[in-house]
């Protein structure tokens, strides 16, 4: 290590400096010792001061030993600073300043700077830390540190930790892109073909609604950046659920690597939401359940839900409408919403509809009306596990010709609707149809992305539909009952217990 003069070999010094930097970086990135007080730390501190004392007395005259003394200083200083921060208060200005100082100026830097060696490397090192310090104040980094429960988000190491995790997430995202792109392209192709055929129908989510109906999951996160074999692995999520009339039963399952079920789910795995609720859910794998190594933790939330949609339609006697058009008179001149768009309730499923140009002209009985096109589509990133019911509600006086459609539809009644739907249904005013059990058991309804179909309408009694006013306002409604699954995943690493 040293030449004959007792001066350290420059090459050795360079390697030693690199080693110090690596150890220093690892110390802050992964062990984050600043502010941590342990018996080992205290011992190291005492050792450091002992070495310094010997040096002061001239016992360690060989300069070869000097770098090791500074090396101990690097370990000891954060511990000493930890005591200081605690004594002045971690969040105080002085505490923050000192903790930053530790990271900017580890003692070995003073050593090399004093010796005038490797100044280029050290300046580069300092520049990296200045960059880190600057970004530590960025909102994303502070949020990142806050999420991990640290009181001093000014520590520049969080910048690098954040960048590391962000890069890892991006890499995982990029790795998954080809699969996602193929799926998206396939869905878009199906949608384009359906649109070209005129079979894809759009709708708007109920803008007047104040509630976001459905189940919403925030990011699934682990409680610790790293777990050890002798501790339980815990990941948590915040779930918000909102419903109006229909009680919402939610089942939570947590798995690791798709096959290791969580030991516990807290507060519980089954939720019954009546109106609006928010829960923090913890998935806990007891110690020893997850072996050493990386794991993918997944939380799945399954719930039964329903989405309703309606299309307001204006209907007129056909001859009267022709007369209006011949006179160049707008039959809907006084109507506020002349071309109503289909409205669907918020939630994971989008329902679109189309029924030709408004107003709809009604002629004689038994005439065929424009087909009623319906699109049922998965609007969220989760999965429609299966569809348990599709109900079509149309004005009395109009019927669906079930024989003409490939979809198996049968005549039903208001009493067949789910209980919460029955209150708004009156058999004297509407005709109800539903998809048969056989229809819903087809494979297309499992993990459904888009389902387009057309219902062929026949006018049975124009007077019933039109009533006694020049323009009749009627509603075509769709109600879809389904089971939906949302999934969130997070990566966790379990390490061997440090001895």
């Amino acid at each position: 290590m040293a030449d004959a003069s007792g001066e350290p070999n420059p090459r050795t010094v360079f390697l030693f400096a690199i080693l110090l930097i690596v150890v220093h970086v690892a110390d802050f990135l992964f062990f984050r010792r600043s502010g941590v007080q342990t018996f080992a730390g205290l011992l190291t501190t005492l050792l450091f001061y002992t070495v310094l004392a010997f040096m002061a007395q001239g016992v360690l005259k060989d300069r070869t030993m000097e770098p090791f003394a500074w090396f101990f200083g690097m370990w000891a200083m954060p511990i000493a600073v930890g005591f200081l921060i605690k004594s002045v208060g971690a969040t105080s200005a002085l505490g923050r300043m000192v903790s930053i100082l530790v990271i900017f100026f580890p003692l070995f830097i003073f050593y090399f700077m004093r010796r005038g060696q490797l100044s280029g490397l050290l300046i580069a090192y300092l520049l990296i830390w200045i960059f880190g310090y600057g970004f530590t104040h960025a909102e994303a980094v502070q949020q990142f540190a806050g999420e991990r429960g640290f009181e001093i988000p000014y520590n520049p190491t969080f910048t690098y930790q954040y960048l590391l995790e962000w890069t890892w997430d991006q890499l995982k995202y990029l790795a998954g892109l080809p699969v996602k792109a193929i799926t998206a392209l396939k869905e878009e192709a199906e949608r384009s073909i359906a649109m070209a055929k005129g079979d894809y129908y759009t709708g708007s989510v109920d803008a007047a609604a104040q509630k976001r109906l459905g189940v919403y999951l925030d990011n699934f996160r682990t409680t610790e950046p790293t777990f050890y074999e002798d501790m339980p692995v815990t990941a948590f999520v915040t779930m918000k659920a909102e419903t109006l009339d229909q009680p919402l039963d939610i089942t939570i399952t947590c798995t690791a690597d798709d096959n290791i079920t969580a030991s516990r789910i807290l507060p519980k795995g089954l939720f019954n939401v009546i109106s609006t609720d928010q829960y923090d859910i913890d998935c806990i794998w007891n110690k020893g359940v997850l072996a050493k190594g990386p794991h993918t933790l997944a939380l799945r939330s399954e719930f039964k839900f329903s989405t309703r949609a309606y299309l307001k339609t204006y209907m007129m006697d056909r001859d009267r409408l022709r007369e209006y058009r011949r006179q160049n008179v707008d039959p809907l001149a006084d109507v506020p919403d002349k071309n109503p768009t289909p409205i669907y309730t918020s939630g994971p499923v989008r329902i679109g509809m189309g029924l030709g140009q408004q107003p709809i002209a009604l002629g004689e009985a038994n005439e065929v009306l424009p087909p009623w096109g319906i699109t049922i589509e998965n609007a969220w990133e989760g999965k429609i596990l299966d569809i348990t019911g599709v109900y079509l509600i149309i004005p009395k006086g109009i019927e669906i010709k079930a024989d003409d459609t490939e979809t198996l539809i049968v005549t039903s009644a208001c009493t067949s609707l789910p209980a919460e739907e029955q209150a708004g249904c009156d058999d004297s005013l509407v005709n109800v149809y539903e998809f048969t059990v056989g229809e819903l058991s087809k494979d297309i309804y499992k993990n459904l992305t888009t389902k387009n179909f057309r219902a062929y309408l026949t006018l049975k009694n124009p007077r019933t539909v039109l009533g006694n006013a020049p323009i009749a306002v009627q509603n075509f409604k769709v109600s879809v009952q389904y089971r939906y699954m949302l999934e969130r995943t997070v990566s966790a690493s379990v390490r061997e217990v440090q001895q």
Binding site: A208, P336, E421, R463, G467, P470, A472
Partner: protein, 306 residues
């Protein structure tokens, strides 16, 4: 002394007189009601219906019908359009008839009536927070536009000067107190096949200046229902004209009203004797039709539990 007594007597007489300033004699102003482009107008009372109402509750739509024209309405009809899936109104209340006296010279304010309609909102159904339901009030009534005026009949076609009057175009864009107006009357004095007679002709320009739709007077009631009126049902006017007491022949009659205005020519085929000279004569034009006006509003039905 005698002079003093006379002077005193004069003073006494003068003092009994009062200084009466010059006063204009009040005259009774008869309002001219034969102006305007309105007929039976429909309006909704403020907050009736309300803009928002809870499901399974009641609200009132208060409709005011005001006859702001000059014609009395004996058989006006109305219908109420609503969405039976969301609101309930007894069927018998959804249609009705009315009579409304129009404006007249000695009762210049037309009659007004209010019709309250009490609706009950139904349950909205699952997952729906609100729904904007559409309510329509349709008002149909027979009406007549009456334009009495004096016209100049000039039997002399030589163009001599110093006549008592000259036939000129009379315009009245402000209307005659009805939604269909006779916007101009152009008199023409044409030669007759009998050289001793002339044929007066009046070119009428007729417009719909109101906000509603014109129907034939015979089918106006159907206009408020959902039924078709037929090709001869919409925009059909019947025009009649009387020159003094003589009926003029108007063509075309009935006439189809066009958006840009319709021209009708009324003439006296038998002509007028040229020996009668130049004179003014009363010309009375009446136009009969049906009229449809509608008012549409929306009420937001809100779920109770939100």
């Amino acid at each position: 002394m005698r002079k003093a007594l006379v002077l005193l007597a004069v003073l006494v007489v003068l003092s009994s007189c009062q200084m009466i300033p010059f006063q204009r004699k009040d005259t009774l102003q008869v309002p001219n009601v034969n102006i305007g482009t309105q007929g039976v107008e429909v309006s909704l009372a403020p907050n009736n219906p309300p803009s928002e109402i809870y499901e399974e509750s009641a609200f009132t739509m208060l409709v005011t019908l005001s006859n702001l024209g000059t014609n009395d309405v004996e058989q006006g009809v109305f219908t109420v359009g609503y969405e039976p899936q969301y609101v309930y109104l007894p069927r018998q209340q959804a249609q009705g008839r009315y009579r409304l006296r129009g404006e007249a010279a000695f009762s210049p304010i037309g009659e007004e009536r209010q019709f309250p309609f009490v609706f009950n909102t139904k349950p909205l159904g699952a997952q729906l927070e609100r729904y904007a339901t559409t309510l329509t009030f349709n008002n149909c009534y027979p009406y007549q536009t009456r334009a009495p005026l004096n016209v100049c009949i000039d039997t002399d076609l030589t163009g001599k000067k110093g006549k008592v009057c000259t036939p000129t175009v009379q315009s009245s864009p402000q209307g005659q107190g009805a939604p269909v107006i006779i916007s101009s009357i152009e008199p023409r004095m044409l030669p007759h096949e009998d050289p001793l007679r002339i044929r007066p002709e009046f070119v009428l320009t007729i417009n719909n200046a109101g906000s509603g739709e014109v129907t034939a007077s015979s089918v106006y009631q159907r206009a408020c229902s959902g039924q078709p009126l037929g090709d001869d049902g919409w925009n059909i006017l019947e025009v009649n004209a009387l020159l003094s007491d003589t009926v003029l022949a108007c063509t075309p009659n009935p006439v189809k009203l066009k958006q840009t205005g319709t021209r009708v020519v009324c003439t006296l085929p038998e002509g007028i004797d040229t020996r009668l000279g130049t004179y003014t004569a009363p010309l009375t034009i009446t136009v009969d039709y049906g009229y449809l006006t509608s008012v549409t509003t929306q009420v937001a039905i809100v779920k109770k539990s939100v």
